[in-house]
Subunit: 321 residues, 2 copies
Amino acid sequence: MFKPYPNFTDIQKAQKEVYRFLKPTPLHFYPELSQLVNASIWIKHENHHAVGAFKVRGGVNLAAHLTLEERQTGLFTASTGNHGQSIAFAGQVTNTCVTIAVPNGANPTKVAAMRSLGAEVIFAGQDFDEAREWIAHQAIINGTRFIGPTEPELISGVGTYALEILKDLPDVEVIIVPVGAGSGACGVCLVAKTINPAIVVIAVQAEKAPAAYLFWKNGQSAAAKMETFAEGLATRVPFPNTQAIMRHPTKGINDFVLVSELEMKQAIILLLEHTHNLAEAAGAAALAAALKIKERLIGKKVVLVVSGGNLSIEGLRQILS
Amino acid sequence: MFKPYPNFTDIQKAQKEVYRFLKPTPLHFYPELSQLVNASIWIKHENHHAVGAFKVRGGVNLAAHLTLEERQTGLFTASTGNHGQSIAFAGQVTNTCVTIAVPNGANPTKVAAMRSLGAEVIFAGQDFDEAREWIAHQAIINGTRFIGPTEPELISGVGTYALEILKDLPDVEVIIVPVGAGSGACGVCLVAKTINPAIVVIAVQAEKAPAAYLFWKNGQSAAAKMETFAEGLATRVPFPNTQAIMRHPTKGINDFVLVSELEMKQAIILLLEHTHNLAEAAGAAALAAALKIKERLIGKKVVLVVSGGNLSIEGLRQILS
């Protein structure tokens, strides 16, 4: 199903809703990472939201656009991680009911986090796709709104972080952004290419989950494995509306880089060491990409988008050992 | 040497200088920590500054008050960690020369961080006190300003984070703040007790480095061990001007809690798990204290000040294992 996509004005309008409940996140310069990459490295700290991820901006914007009736029947979505927490947070601050389907055996810590934010969590199906199909069907039966990962209001909301980047560093030359479903990359493209088309936007995905990369490159779906430990990048299918933006001849991304599991793990450790931020693999992917293509970044002003800290203590322990 | 201490108006004035170079840090509510403590737990994220610590506010404010001549001859200080990085950052953004003495064998990562921020780093002496005495003497010889940890301009600058707490959560009931030299606790006291004297301010120190605690309790210096791994709390001597504020009958702190090494390590893991923030021991001390005195916090609105992420990868690995 093709959904319409928002434009720059929609993102500007979203600011009003987003900043009712959220504050701008910092853009910090890191001297030591700059030395490592041989460029000027800034990090956009989308991990500094209370729920640790940029998606909360989209959730808040979407919730603000519901009718009173929609608000009462609420939002239905499926998630195992950041998306669910973000929609739950949006529901809490906008007084909107949120129901989230998670697969059987979902991580108890994440389930607890969603419930702590007031969401109703229902176990349904053996994996994420089964949970998503079940809740989408429930939404139809109940006449409520099912929230997919690339709703136009979500893209408009998350695009506000790109406005913040351009405000804080107007002469940014390169922005590197991780791609799951692609809402973040689309927000960055729509903002950066409108304000200054010379800004280079580079998307990142895991070598072990290249569905969006393959569609972007070839213009058609291909059988793609989905074996990465980077949950935030683990999409099995490309989404038509975000692909339409990412592949746009003038508004789209300039390049798409794949990173390995090892490269993401190394980037997690570098972020811990030099910025003292715990990122999950998706959060560290932009740094991994910058190191991979460093010969193309020499001397440039580069912003890395870091979002997502849903790394378990056990997962961190394994990476460190 | 007794230094005068600032008042509420000095902190209000410091905002102008602080916000020229820094942005307010977030105050986030954490549902899961709230369940653990059985109170409403907010965290004031002073670890979200680029250098990871609240002290940078003081450095920026102090640098702004120098004369042109002082700015050229610059600031002399001694540090092995957050203080040095904060003063180096302040020097960089205010175009002020900064010279930092560190003991021989100082952590190379921290030395590199200070140098990345443009500071001149000089190795002097076998431990921190020797480095400090040497650089203080150099400052006298050179006619430059030596920066101790409790200068009035530092306290005024760091006090701005307390103004942010009161703005974001006007009905806060308890603020728990770690104490090294005491500038942070003093900033909190001067603000909270001026705006609402009913706010309870609780200071925290390590059981293994109780110098400030013992002076606060007894009104006189006592031989105190200094064996904690919490560098940010590792002060050997109490400072007269911060003690004068902390012991003040109406403006002072309400209580002082000591936490064990194990309690701080457990709090580091809880912060990683529930907030995805890497804190050093001093940064986790407020959570450790809240858990220790949880029966006194039931149902209250509590702010924990988290500052400092200078935990090495090796240190983290040990705590996790």
